[in-house]
């Protein structure tokens, strides 16, 4: 090997710590970009592939019972590709410990004759579905967390309180259903005879699953075709209860995952940017260490272009190592995370793939970014003259400017070593700026991500204001409030219970031609379990009769509505006039839109005064440990008294269910924030290393005049901590625009509207401690190295 290339190799391999830091620095960007790209590509490919292979319905029409003939009529409506009727029963899955879980049981002629929302084998490798005999049930695989094995007997409780035993025939994969973990409701499939045995209908259907022939992702088109089907069904004498169209043509989590990918994309390129800063810093550090060697090589005949070529090859070697490790690592990590997401979001994962477009991007980050980042410091150093290179290296070069007088004056009260640290901080301003840039950006991203968490929390708090109870009970039918309230209050620990009415309805357009689905929510007029966020007008008051408060979700489909307007709402086929008295806002996706009215008036209007569909219960203690036994006891009391309940849900369960989608995003961003923090820490470590290296002689002088190990270590540590604290202060400011960007982007991507800006103390305090820890760790090694130098070593240092 030609000697100069041997030198390049020994530079690369001989100093493993430096090579490790350098490779890690480049890897951060290469990995982040690769991970995000791979995750996005695989997720979109696999989620869509699995979803579309199920011939998914774009719309579901909830309808009064219809037979096969009506389904046939629906199938012939123009624009329809396929329609399938489904009938189902709502039961409670009774677990061995007595806990009940809501379960929807669909009736099928046979699992393998389904044409819409096709069921697939639990294991993608299997080519067959389990058969379904009488009194057998196929469970959706997302319910496998209950631990049932094929052949096990499960108990379900029917709406009337009767129980039935079913044999588990196996698991299937229904990619079109929302998984149990997120919906809190399990899904099962039985044959039609069994469905009838469970109280359902074997001849009539209550849902129409509609698959359109064209443009399945066009919400307007899907809506038109579905409306045409609904109209045709109504003409045939059926009643349409509700039409559900949510993200047609896409997996239910598609929007969330797109949000995740967008945010991760932004963060990964920020990491590349950050990594670029760090590369500059590390290269400057490396080149500083090599100044003398460059001088020697030039003195013995090395030309600038030869030296440049050597350092370019060295940089490319670092890049190659980062590339070789990061490409498979990013792909594997993406695959691993995707497997977890597939399990969480209920879709099958395709084969492991290395995507060429990802590899190309990673190659750019691994090779081009470091070269571009390193170009200026490399050129500056290899173009140094031999005299400059060989003169007086080892002593810190003198500053051209004196420290600012104010800084010096302010140091009067500090101890001498601390004063030295403070001066050292500002000695190399260019390097300080680079180090600060890395740390500041890392810190700002970290704080912004933490602020996003706070924003999610705030959003959840805003949502919770509409669901303030400790326990929510939903009944399968209307019950007398007095009856269920008395039962509820008999349970120790229950403080109060409010009875609410919830009814589906439609807001009819002014010309009476079209209608939009909505749900009327009617709390008692004196309810204190709702704290609405009003954007206009007022909330419903005691004594209000036909007053209605509409929300932002209704306004998104009916932007013409305003306070003072009169609207027509159709409830149970009857139309009534309502006066809009206020507009509220609730974050998140709400389908259908909710409008709030007085319980007293609505119950009169539908001739059911005193009837309630749900109870909102407040307990004496609000912590989960106290509430959980009360919820269990309530269930037992309702069962004992024949009350048919849809679910008994604690606030904590509701919250977990609500945050289940945003949690995915939160954890990913936390990982990215930690990566940025590590990158920032590496930058500081590099700076502190080179600072102490440059000051080796100074350290020797200080030791010679009596500085102890502790003094030397303190000087280095305090310098590192000071840089950390400066970066922390500035990152607070920089995090403000990044927080705005992030909350806006995530809000638009996931919630279809920007989220409110929240700047919490969590991020500030966490990053303060993070910075101190990173700074202490980053300075510890250089400080230890500095304190181990002997006077002889340091003064002989050349």
């Amino acid at each position: 090997m030609i000697t100069r290339w041997k030198k390049v190799w020994t530079d690369f391999w001989g100093n493993k710590t430096r090579t490790f830091i350098m490779v890690l620095t480049i890897m951060a960007g290469v990995f982040a970009v690769g991970f995000n790209q791979n995750l996005g590509l695989m997720m979109n490919r696999d989620m869509d592939a699995d979803f579309l292979s199920a011939n998914p319905s774009e719309a579901t029409v909830y309808i009064s019972p219809i037979d096969d003939d009506m389904v046939g009529i629906a199938r012939n409506v123009e624009g329809v590709d396929e329609v399938e009727g489904r009938s189902d029963v709502a039961v409670q899955l009774v677990q061995p410990d007595g806990k009940k879980v809501p379960m929807q049981v669909d009736g099928l002629k046979s699992p393998d004759t389904v044409n819409v929302n096709i069921l697939k084998p639990n294991n993608p490798a299997d080519n067959y579905l389990p058969t379904l005999a009488d009194k057998e049930i196929l469970l959706d695989r997302t319910a496998s967390s209950f631990g049932y094995q094929p052949g096990d007997i499960i108990t379900v409780e029917l709406s009337g309180g009767k129980t039935r035993q079913l044999r588990v025939a196996g698991y299937v994969h229904d990619v079109t259903s929302i998984p149990y973990g997120m919906s809190g409701q399990a899904t099962g499939f039985v044959n039609l005879d069994t469905l009838e045995w469970l109280g359902g209908s074997s001849t009539h259907y209550s849902r129409l699953l509609i698959s359109v022939a064209e443009n399945p992702t066009d919400q307007g088109h899907v809506s038109d075709v579905t409306q045409a089907v609904a109209d045709r069904m109504e003409k045939g004498g059926a009643t349409i209860y509700f039409i559900l169209i949510f993200n047609p043509g896409h997996h239910f989590a598609w929007e969330t995952t797109q949000g995740v990918i967008v945010v991760l994309g932004v963060l990964s390129w920020l990491t590349v940017f950050l990594s670029g800063f760090l590369i500059i810093n590390t290269i400057v550090s490396l080149m500083t260490q090599h100044v003398k060697q460059i001088g020697i090589m030039k003195a013995i005949g090395g030309e600038t272009r030869q030296l440049m070529a050597m350092y370019i090859v060295l940089i490319l070697s670092f890049g190659s190592a980062a590339f070789l490790v990061s490409v498979p690592l990013a792909a594997l990590a993406a695959k691993t995370v995707l497997t977890g997401m597939g399990s969480y979001l209920n879709f099958d994962i395709g084969p492991f793939t290395i995507f060429p477009q990802t590899v190309i991007q990673q190659a750019i980050v691994a090779f081009i970014v470091p070269l571009v980042a390193a170009l200026v410091p490399m050129l500056n150093t290899v173009r140094i003259t031999v005299r400059e290179a060989l003169s007086d290296y080892g002593l810190g070069r003198e500053e051209k400017q004196k420290p600012a007088k104010t800084i010096v004056r302010g140091m009067g009260l500090m101890s001498r070593p601390v004063r030295i640290s403070m001066r050292n901080v500002f000695r190399r301003k260019g390097r300080l700026i680079l180090t600060l840039s890395t740390l500041i950006l890392g810190g700002a991203i970290f704080i912004a991500v933490m602020n996003l968490f706070d924003t999610f929390d705030k959003t959840m708090e805003d949502v919770e204001k509409y669901f303030l109870a400790d326990i929510n009970v939903s009944f399968n039918r209307a019950y007398r409030y007095d009856e269920v309230a008395a039962l509820t209050m008999s349970v120790p620990g229950v403080k109060s219970a409010e009875g609410w009415m919830i009814l589906n309805g439609e807001i009819v357009s002014a010309d009476g031609e079209t209608a939009n689905e909505l749900a009327l929510v009617a709390p008692p007029s004196d309810s204190n379990l709702i704290e609405p966020i009003m954007t206009d007008g007022r909330w419903v008051m005691p004594g209000d009769e036909n007053a209605v408060v509409v929300g932002n979700h209704l306004l998104s489909v009916r932007p013409d509505l305003k306070v003072g307007d009169w609207i027509t709402i159709r409830i149970n086929e009857k139309e009534s006039e309502w006066h809009i008295v206020g507009i509220y806002r609730i974050p998140g996706n709400v389908i259908p839109p909710l409008v709030y009215v007085n319980y007293e008036y609505l119950s009169q209007l539908v001739n059911a005064p005193g009837d309630v569909y749900s109870l909102r219960i407040i307990t004496d203690q609000h912590d989960q440990a106290s509430v959980e036994p009360i919820a269990k006891q309530l269930q037992e009391v309702y069962d004992a008294n024949g009350i048919q309940i849809g679910y008994v849900q604690m606030a904590s369960e509701w919250r977990a269910q609500q945050t289940s989608q945003t949690d995915v995003l939160v954890y990913f961003m936390l990982v990215m924030a930690i990566i940025t923090a590590i990158v920032g820490g590496l930058g500081l470590m590099g700076t502190m290393s080179i600072n102490t290296l440059e000051r080796t002689r100074e350290i020797g002088v200080m030791r010679a005049v009596g500085a102890s190990n502790m003094d030397i270590q303190m000087i280095v540590l305090v310098e590192g901590l000071t840089i950390g604290m400066i970066s922390w202060a500035i990152s607070l400011l920089i995090s403000i625009p990044i927080t705005y960007l992030l909350t806006y982007g995530v809000g638009v991507a996931i919630f279809k509207a920007p989220l409110g800006f929240t700047f919490g103390v969590d991020g500030i305090v966490t990053w303060l401690f993070g910075t101190l820890i990173i700074a202490a760790l980053a300075s510890a090694l250089p400080a230890r190295r500095a304190s181990r130098l002997t006077v002889r070593d340091t003064l002989a240092y050349e």
């Binding site: 030609i2 000697t3 041997k6 030198k7 030039k298 003195a299 013995i300 600038t304 003259t385 051209k400």
Partner: protein, 385 residues
């Protein structure tokens, strides 16, 4: 002891081989170097003129900060003059750009540093091969063989594949010399090559330099050790950024560097053709003379008008000291030798007086010389009678 057995071309371009050639291998013409500092320009070299011939062994001495390293850096192209010209082996070094400089330096100069400056990550043999790699002076396959041979000449072949950290300082310096010889350059520059070595090892290094000079290399070393400097054939003394006239330094060695510099500044150069009369006995004179080139003859007039040559004075010898201490009337006649032209430098007696009033040792030395020459003259005259 050491011989360098095979060379690339080994010939000088613009010089005659050997120390007695007429052409200079290295020429500095009015070289000025100013460094910018926080308190203004610092003049490191103030119009230095210096010639060195091929095959010379020259030591550059001076106190710390006198400008000796700057001077050698000018020759090596490590630093550039603020003004003036530097010619080495026919190349205008001051006109080369950084890249041309590196290439030229690699092929024409070998540099030895005080702190050896071996690359710590390369073995000894690789350190020696590196200049050959950069300059592509020898075929690839020959480089290791040559490097090993050079190491063998330095008696370090057994350590060839060790790292520099595994050998002693003296051994490292020998490797550095081997590296300097790698491309077979005509000139070796050494900046304090023994500054970091014990006296025994320093002797060995100087022995090695002497050997290289005998093989035709031109060696310039910077040292502050005047004892070692004397082992070079020629010494250039630098003080306060100026070259002290080396003949003055040789003639009046007990003056301090600054006094020598002061004297140098006062000198007047006078040239004489071969055989030309310089001074007549009995005439009054005002100058102290030091021969810088050629030979002068000191002779006494016989009664029969013929003369007898009582002394021949070459470069570094002086005359006029007897007259200074006596009546300033010439005690003998002096002429240029018949064979070569003569160049002398003249120092006014007033200036000499001022110098001697500052240096009692020099006064005593001159006085003693004057006394001795007076006695020799008397003796010669007695013999003539």
């Amino acid at each position: 002891m050491w011989t360098i057995p095979f060379t690339r071309n080994g010939k000088f371009k613009n010089s005659v081989d050997g120390p007695n050639g007429d052409h200079s291998l290295i020429e500095l013409r009015n070289v000025v170097k100013n460094y910018k500092t926080a308190v203004g320009d610092f003049p490191a070299l103030k119009g230095v003129d210096l010639d060195m011939k091929a095959g010379e062994f020259v030591s550059v001495i001076g106190k710390s900060g006198s400008g000796k390293t700057t001077l050698i850096n000018m020759i090596a192209g490590i630093d550039r003059p603020t003004s003036g010209e530097v010619w080495v082996n026919g190349t205008a070094v001051h006109e080369l750009n950084e890249n041309q400089m590196a290439r030229w330096r690699g092929r024409n100069l070998g540099i030895v540093f005080q702190f050896f400056q071996l690359l710590p990550m390369l073995s000894l043999v690789e350190n020696i091969m590196l200049p050959m790699d950069f300059c592509k002076t020898f075929p690839h396959r020959e480089r290791e063989e040559r490097a090993l041979h050079l190491l063998d000449q330095m008696e370090l072949a057994d350590h060839a594949y060790k790292l520099p950290s595994a050998i002693s300082g003296g051994q490292q310096q020998r490797v550095a010399i081997a590296r300097a010889l790698a491309n077979d350059p005509p000139v070796i520059l050494a900046d304090e090559p023994t500054g970091n070595l014990d006296s025994k090892t320093a002797d060995t290094v100087f022995e090695l330099f002497g050997q290289l000079v005998s093989e035709g290399k031109t060696i310039i070393i910077v040292t502050h050790d005047s004892g070692l400097a004397k082992r070079a054939a020629r010494t250039a003394l630098i003080a306060d950024g100026e070259i002290v006239n080396e003949f003055v330094a040789r003639a009046l060695p007990t003056l301090t560097h600054n006094q020598l510099l002061k004297a140098t500044r006062q000198l007047e150069t006078i040239k004489y053709d071969a055989g030309a009369m310089i001074l007549h006995e009995g005439e009054s004179r005002q100058n102290f003379h030091i021969v810088t080139k050629g030979t002068v003859e000191v002779f006494l007039q016989r009664e029969n008008a013929s003369d007898v040559v009582v002394a021949q004075l070459g470069p570094g010898k002086y005359f006029g000291e007897m007259e200074y201490f006596h009546d300033q009337e010439n005690r003998a006649s002096i002429r240029a030798s018949e064979t070569t032209p003569v160049e002398v430098v003249a120092l006014d007696y007033d200036e000499l007086h001022a110098l001697l009033s500052e240096s009692e040792a020099t006064r005593e030395a001159l006085h003693e010389a004057a006394h001795k020459h007076e006695e020799e003259n008397i003796q010669h005259r007695g013999e003539e009678k």
